[in-house]
Amino acid sequence: MSGRALIVVIVGIITISSTIFLQITGASKDISANTDRAYMRHAALNIAQSAVNVAIRRLTDQPWWRSGVPQMDLLGGKASIALVETTYNGASAIEILSTGTMGVGTPDEHTERAAAFVRNGYIPLAVKAALTTTHMAYPQAGFVLDGRDHNADGTLRIPGGTGTLAVWTLKGYNQTTGATVGGTLNGIDYVPSMPASPNVIQTFQTWPGGYPSSPDSLLTALGFSIPEGTLEAVAKSGAGGSQYVTNPVLLNYPLRGVTYVELPDHGMWDAATITGEGILIVHNEDRNAILSNVNNGPFVGFLIGDEIVHINCTIIGAIVSMGGHEDDIVNGPGQLLFSNEAISRFTGLVARGLGDKRGTVGGVLAWKE
């Protein structure tokens, strides 16, 4: 074979070989790309799911948090979180929406989404007024009892009409000079006045089935109740700053989360400081624990007590008392300002501390991926 012919043959061999090799490597590249794509998809989904868990954890510490996170670094990628108040199967819920992205800004960028519904805060059925009590109610000496709706910072909510009664009691009512009382009925606000409008005062009421006898039963909502012992358990867990004490001297301030003060039979917490927020329970098995001379506040949230005497500070939220004795209540120079927002913040904390009937954690009602 001549040299030219040989060159032609060799070039031909090289060309054909190169073409076949290119085809093989191309197929190998596709196979690798599929594997890479599967990895990126799973990694992005892991990021999205982890971001949801981050949000659930943050809601435990900050029940009022709704602003979300526009973007954050997480697990080698980027995550974003948004929160939306909504309903899920008729229950008040917060939808946590998250995205997870791997390979941001690269040709391999891949985004996955995850979402979860968690229980939102709610107003328990037991909150029939700013002050719900088994006792005679005695607003006096400059006390301001306002059932109109307020923000958690104490400012009046505008527009109005979303408040509640001033007083709901199994017994009577006696307002004396210096005290002003107001509230909301059927969407109409009544400015605190002396005497109060009878529209916002309900006396000698009855509670079908009997007045609740435990703090946990006071947190029942429509279609939702918490097991007995839940509040005590949450308090003992320390979640969100919660505390359980049998001696109020041991409390850390400011109060946060669920603060459960269990006093002995006829025990009294006198000259009480309740500065802080959350759900404050002062109670014992005999329902005769006394919270007296509540001098130092403010307290934002839901106050549950057996016997409450002389409130001399500001409480933003609601009070429910369930003691069996007729003691004075709300007869100090303080103020009780009803607030849906304040109550909802912390009932949500308790609700999210529960699993649903299938045992999901963090009060998650459902996951959506």
């Binding site: 061999i13 085809q23 093989i24 197929a27 190998s28 794509r37 999901t360 459902a366």
Partner: protein, 183 residues
């Protein structure tokens, strides 16, 4: 004589080299074909497994009672979920079809079907030679009843319908899925 020997030697050498080249090209050609079919199988496979995994992760979503899984069988799964996120609970069925009866092709190939709310099933994967489901309870032990299912393990093999020297190119995949709405 000497020239004759040279010609014979050249002919022999050239023939050997030519045979080597033919064998070489045949080998890489076969590899190229196998790669191509494997890529095709894998692409179909990735698409099918993405859908299956996404579906299984959604088992029990929106279900308010404890009945997420209706039927848990080794080759069939019926479960409930709110597929459209519209508050209406749907019933989804995954089932491995029978062996394909037509001649030619992969004799072990089957079709994996998916059906929604009793509608006629549609294929989600073809060339399935294995589709096995195992179910586990909250303790990680095999679930004794459908209502106890908290996790499922799915194993699937997809193969090409074309026989290549040595067999049918295929892909094997297995994954344990723990639907969060069942936990």
């Amino acid at each position: 004589m000497g020239e004759m020997l040279q010609y014979v030697g050249s002919l022999f050498s050239g023939g050997v080299i030519f045979l080597m080249l033919i064998t070489f090209f045949a080998g890489i050609g076969e590899t190229a074909v196998t790669q191509t079919f494997s890529t095709t199988v894998q692409e179909n496979f990735v698409s099918a497994t993405e859908n299956i995994e996404r579906d299984f992760r959604g088992i029990g979503y929106g279900v308010t009672d404890s009945i997420g899984v209706l039927l848990a069988d080794s080759s069939r799964l019926i479960y409930r979920t709110d597929l459209g996120d519209d508050g209406v609970i749907d019933t989804i069925m995954y089932e491995l079809g029978p062996l394909l009866s037509w001649g030619g092709g992969n004799p072990r190939a089957r079709i994996l079907y998916r059906s929604v709310n009793g509608a006629p099933p549609i294929p989600v994967a073809t060339g399935v030679t294995e589709f096995t489901l195992q179910y586990f309870d909250s303790a990680g032990t095999p679930a004794l009843a459908d209502k106890d299912v908290r996790a499922l393990h799915v194993a699937m093999t997809l193969e090409s319908d074309t026989h290549i020297e040595g067999g049918y190119p295929g892909v094997y995949w297995h994954r344990t899925v723990k639907p969060k709405n069942l936990r």
